[in-house]
Protein backbone atom coordinates (compact mmCIF):
# COMPACT_ATOMS: atom_id res chain seq x y z
CA UNK A 1 0.00 0.00 0.00
CA UNK A 2 1.39 3.40 -0.95
CA UNK A 3 1.87 6.20 1.59
CA UNK A 4 -0.96 8.09 -0.01
CA UNK A 5 -3.41 5.16 0.22
CA UNK A 6 -2.30 4.52 3.78
CA UNK A 7 -2.95 8.15 4.68
CA UNK A 8 -6.41 8.15 3.07
CA UNK A 9 -7.31 4.91 4.86
CA UNK A 10 -6.21 6.31 8.21
CA UNK A 11 -8.24 9.45 7.60
CA UNK A 12 -11.33 7.53 6.42
CA UNK A 13 -11.26 5.34 9.53
CA UNK A 14 -11.47 8.42 11.78
CA UNK A 15 -14.04 10.54 9.97
CA UNK A 16 -17.53 10.83 11.44
CA UNK A 17 -20.67 12.16 9.79
CA UNK A 18 -22.66 11.12 6.78
CA UNK A 19 -21.19 8.97 4.02
CA UNK A 20 -21.68 11.84 1.60
CA UNK A 21 -19.76 14.33 3.74
CA UNK A 22 -16.97 11.85 4.43
CA UNK A 23 -16.67 10.96 0.75
CA UNK A 24 -16.53 14.62 -0.15
CA UNK A 25 -13.58 15.29 2.14
CA UNK A 26 -11.75 12.14 1.06
CA UNK A 27 -12.16 13.10 -2.61
CA UNK A 28 -10.89 16.59 -1.88
CA UNK A 29 -7.85 15.31 0.02
CA UNK A 30 -7.10 12.77 -2.68
CA UNK A 31 -7.20 15.52 -5.34
CA UNK A 32 -4.98 17.73 -3.18
CA UNK A 33 -2.37 15.00 -2.81
CA UNK A 34 -2.48 14.28 -6.56
CA UNK A 35 -1.81 17.97 -7.32
CA UNK A 36 0.97 18.21 -4.73
CA UNK A 37 2.71 15.07 -6.01
CA UNK A 38 2.42 16.22 -9.60
CA UNK A 39 3.82 19.67 -8.78
CA UNK A 40 6.87 18.03 -7.21
CA UNK A 41 7.45 15.49 -9.98
CA UNK A 42 7.19 18.33 -12.52
CA UNK A 43 10.20 19.85 -10.75
CA UNK A 44 12.14 16.61 -11.14
CA UNK A 45 11.45 15.00 -7.75
CA UNK A 46 11.00 11.22 -7.90
CA UNK A 47 7.46 9.85 -7.62
CA UNK A 48 8.05 8.05 -4.32
CA UNK A 49 9.77 11.00 -2.66
CA UNK A 50 7.09 13.39 -3.94
CA UNK A 51 4.38 11.19 -2.46
CA UNK A 52 6.08 11.01 0.95
CA UNK A 53 6.60 14.77 1.02
CA UNK A 54 3.00 15.50 0.03
CA UNK A 55 1.63 13.19 2.72
CA UNK A 56 3.95 14.61 5.39
CA UNK A 57 3.07 18.14 4.39
CA UNK A 58 -0.61 17.33 4.71
CA UNK A 59 -0.24 16.61 8.43
CA UNK A 60 -1.55 14.09 10.93
CA UNK A 61 -4.72 12.32 9.71
CA UNK A 62 -5.97 11.93 13.30
CA UNK A 63 -5.71 15.69 13.97
CA UNK A 64 -7.36 16.53 10.67
CA UNK A 65 -10.22 14.08 11.36
CA UNK A 66 -10.80 15.46 14.87
CA UNK A 67 -10.90 19.02 13.62
CA UNK A 68 -13.07 18.23 10.62
CA UNK A 69 -15.50 16.12 12.71
CA UNK A 70 -15.99 19.10 15.03
CA UNK A 71 -16.85 21.51 12.20
CA UNK A 72 -19.07 18.95 10.51
CA UNK A 73 -21.03 18.27 13.72
CA UNK A 74 -21.48 22.02 14.15
CA UNK A 75 -22.82 22.34 10.61
CA UNK A 76 -25.24 19.47 11.18
CA UNK A 77 -26.56 21.07 14.38
CA UNK A 78 -27.01 24.39 12.57
CA UNK A 79 -28.92 22.58 9.80
CA UNK A 80 -31.20 20.91 12.34
CA UNK A 81 -31.87 24.27 14.03
CA UNK A 82 -32.77 25.81 10.65
CA UNK A 83 -35.12 22.91 9.88
CA UNK A 84 -36.79 23.26 13.30
CA UNK A 85 -37.19 27.00 12.76
CA UNK A 86 -38.89 26.40 9.41
CA UNK A 87 -41.34 23.96 11.02
CA UNK A 88 -42.16 26.39 13.85
CA UNK A 89 -42.55 29.32 11.46
CA UNK A 90 -44.79 27.32 9.12
CA UNK A 91 -46.95 26.21 12.04
CA UNK A 92 -47.20 29.79 13.31
CA UNK A 93 -48.15 31.18 9.89
CA UNK A 94 -50.75 28.42 9.40
CA UNK A 95 -52.21 29.22 12.81
CA UNK A 96 -52.42 32.95 12.08
CA UNK A 97 -54.11 32.29 8.73
CA UNK A 98 -56.63 29.96 10.37
CA UNK A 99 -57.46 32.53 13.05
CA UNK A 100 -57.78 35.30 10.44
CA UNK A 101 -60.08 33.21 8.30
CA UNK A 102 -62.19 32.34 11.32
CA UNK A 103 -62.43 36.04 12.30
CA UNK A 104 -63.69 36.87 8.80
CA UNK A 105 -66.44 34.33 9.11
CA UNK A 106 -64.45 31.52 7.63
CA UNK A 107 -66.93 29.07 9.07
CA UNK A 108 -69.06 29.74 6.00
CA UNK A 109 -67.96 27.65 3.12
CA UNK A 110 -66.65 29.46 0.08
CA UNK A 111 -69.04 28.89 -2.81
CA UNK A 112 -67.58 26.60 -5.47
CA UNK A 113 -67.65 28.08 -8.97
CA UNK A 114 -69.74 26.11 -11.42
CA UNK A 115 -67.79 23.57 -13.47
CA UNK A 116 -67.35 24.36 -17.14
CA UNK A 117 -68.73 21.83 -19.52
CA UNK A 118 -66.09 20.10 -21.59
CA UNK A 119 -63.23 21.66 -19.65
CA UNK A 120 -60.46 19.98 -17.71
CA UNK A 121 -59.19 20.96 -14.31
CA UNK A 122 -55.82 22.76 -14.68
CA UNK A 123 -53.92 20.00 -12.87
CA UNK A 124 -55.49 17.33 -15.07
CA UNK A 125 -54.54 19.29 -18.17
CA UNK A 126 -51.00 19.87 -16.89
CA UNK A 127 -50.61 16.20 -16.09
CA UNK A 128 -52.09 15.15 -19.41
CA UNK A 129 -49.78 17.49 -21.35
CA UNK A 130 -46.69 16.14 -19.59
CA UNK A 131 -47.88 12.57 -20.17
CA UNK A 132 -48.17 13.46 -23.84
CA UNK A 133 -44.63 14.86 -23.76
CA UNK A 134 -43.42 11.75 -21.99
CA UNK A 135 -42.43 13.76 -18.93
CA UNK A 136 -43.46 13.95 -15.34
CA UNK A 137 -45.29 17.14 -14.35
CA UNK A 138 -43.38 17.11 -11.13
CA UNK A 139 -39.90 18.42 -11.32
CA UNK A 140 -37.20 16.43 -9.56
CA UNK A 141 -35.78 18.13 -6.47
CA UNK A 142 -33.03 20.59 -7.36
CA UNK A 143 -29.53 19.13 -7.19
CA UNK A 144 -27.28 20.34 -4.38
CA UNK A 145 -24.20 20.42 -6.53
CA UNK A 146 -22.21 18.22 -4.30
Amino acid sequence: MSRREEFLDQLAARLAGSDRARERLLDEVSGHLTDAIEAATDLGVGESEAECTAVEQFGDPAELATSWNTTQARRQRAGQRRAALIVVTTAAVTGVLAVTQHARGGSKETPTPPARHGGHAPEAGYTRWHAHQGRSPHRPPPGRGS
Partner: protein
Protein backbone atom coordinates in the same frame (compact mmCIF):
# COMPACT_ATOMS: atom_id res chain seq x y z
CA UNK B 1 13.59 33.06 8.54
CA UNK B 2 11.63 31.41 11.35
CA UNK B 3 8.21 30.20 10.37
CA UNK B 4 5.20 31.03 12.49
CA UNK B 5 1.96 29.32 13.30
CA UNK B 6 -0.93 31.17 11.74
CA UNK B 7 -3.68 30.20 14.10
CA UNK B 8 -5.97 33.18 14.58
CA UNK B 9 -5.27 34.49 11.09
CA UNK B 10 -6.30 31.45 9.11
CA UNK B 11 -9.83 32.64 8.33
CA UNK B 12 -8.59 35.99 7.07
CA UNK B 13 -5.94 34.33 4.88
CA UNK B 14 -8.45 31.88 3.42
CA UNK B 15 -10.94 34.64 2.63
CA UNK B 16 -8.14 36.69 1.06
CA UNK B 17 -7.03 33.75 -1.09
CA UNK B 18 -10.54 33.57 -2.55
CA UNK B 19 -10.93 37.29 -3.04
CA UNK B 20 -10.17 37.26 -6.76
CA UNK B 21 -12.10 34.14 -7.68
CA UNK B 22 -12.74 30.48 -6.91
CA UNK B 23 -9.89 28.13 -6.02
CA UNK B 24 -9.63 24.54 -4.85
CA UNK B 25 -7.91 23.51 -1.63
CA UNK B 26 -4.45 22.84 -3.05
CA UNK B 27 -4.47 26.15 -4.97
CA UNK B 28 -5.54 28.02 -1.81
CA UNK B 29 -2.76 26.41 0.18
CA UNK B 30 -0.12 27.15 -2.47
CA UNK B 31 -1.36 30.74 -2.84
CA UNK B 32 -0.92 31.42 0.88
CA UNK B 33 2.44 29.65 1.01
CA UNK B 34 3.81 31.47 -2.04
CA UNK B 35 2.61 34.97 -1.18
CA UNK B 36 3.67 34.68 2.47
CA UNK B 37 7.16 33.64 1.38
CA UNK B 38 6.75 30.42 3.38
CA UNK B 39 6.44 32.33 6.68
CA UNK B 40 3.60 30.22 7.97
CA UNK B 41 4.26 26.70 9.07
CA UNK B 42 1.08 24.73 8.76
CA UNK B 43 0.06 21.30 7.54
CA UNK B 44 -1.96 21.51 4.31
CA UNK B 45 -4.79 19.55 5.91
CA UNK B 46 -5.44 22.42 8.34
CA UNK B 47 -7.34 24.39 5.75
CA UNK B 48 -10.10 21.83 5.12
CA UNK B 49 -11.90 21.99 8.48
CA UNK B 50 -11.58 25.78 8.30
CA UNK B 51 -13.08 25.89 4.80
CA UNK B 52 -15.88 23.61 6.00
CA UNK B 53 -16.56 25.92 8.96
CA UNK B 54 -16.53 29.08 6.81
CA UNK B 55 -18.91 27.41 4.37
CA UNK B 56 -21.21 26.46 7.26
CA UNK B 57 -21.18 30.10 8.37
CA UNK B 58 -22.30 31.14 4.89
CA UNK B 59 -19.06 32.98 4.05
CA UNK B 60 -18.07 30.51 1.31
CA UNK B 61 -19.84 28.29 -1.15
CA UNK B 62 -18.31 25.28 -2.87
CA UNK B 63 -18.99 23.05 -5.86
CA UNK B 64 -17.34 20.31 -7.87
CA UNK B 65 -15.83 21.38 -11.18
CA UNK B 66 -13.90 19.64 -13.92
CA UNK B 67 -10.36 21.05 -14.24
CA UNK B 68 -8.44 19.57 -17.14
CA UNK B 69 -10.32 16.31 -16.78
CA UNK B 70 -9.93 16.22 -13.01
CA UNK B 71 -12.73 16.66 -10.52
CA UNK B 72 -11.90 19.33 -7.96
CA UNK B 73 -14.01 21.06 -5.35
CA UNK B 74 -13.64 24.83 -5.63
CA UNK B 75 -14.58 27.41 -3.03
CA UNK B 76 -15.67 30.98 -3.56
CA UNK B 77 -16.71 33.93 -1.44
CA UNK B 78 -20.40 34.58 -0.98
CA UNK B 79 -21.64 38.17 -0.60
CA UNK B 80 -21.59 37.63 3.12
CA UNK B 81 -18.02 36.37 2.79
CA UNK B 82 -16.94 39.45 0.80
CA UNK B 83 -18.40 41.66 3.48
CA UNK B 84 -16.78 39.62 6.26
CA UNK B 85 -13.42 39.81 4.50
CA UNK B 86 -13.63 43.61 4.21
CA UNK B 87 -14.50 43.89 7.91
CA UNK B 88 -11.76 41.54 9.07
CA UNK B 89 -9.20 43.24 6.83
CA UNK B 90 -9.99 46.62 8.42
CA UNK B 91 -9.81 45.04 11.85
CA UNK B 92 -6.42 43.51 11.06
CA UNK B 93 -5.06 46.79 9.68
CA UNK B 94 -6.13 48.64 12.84
CA UNK B 95 -4.54 45.92 14.97
CA UNK B 96 -1.27 45.90 12.99
CA UNK B 97 -1.22 49.70 12.90
CA UNK B 98 -1.60 49.87 16.68
CA UNK B 99 1.26 47.47 17.29
CA UNK B 100 3.49 49.24 14.75
CA UNK B 101 2.82 52.60 16.40
CA UNK B 102 3.82 51.28 19.84
CA UNK B 103 6.97 49.61 18.46
CA UNK B 104 8.04 52.70 16.58
CA UNK B 105 7.45 55.17 19.38
CA UNK B 106 8.80 53.13 22.29
Amino acid sequence: MPREPFSGHLDLLLLAALRRGPRHGYAISEHIRRLSGGRFDYPDGTIYPALNRLEGDGLLSSRWVDLNGRRRRVYELTRKGESAFAGRQREWERHAGGIAAVLEQS
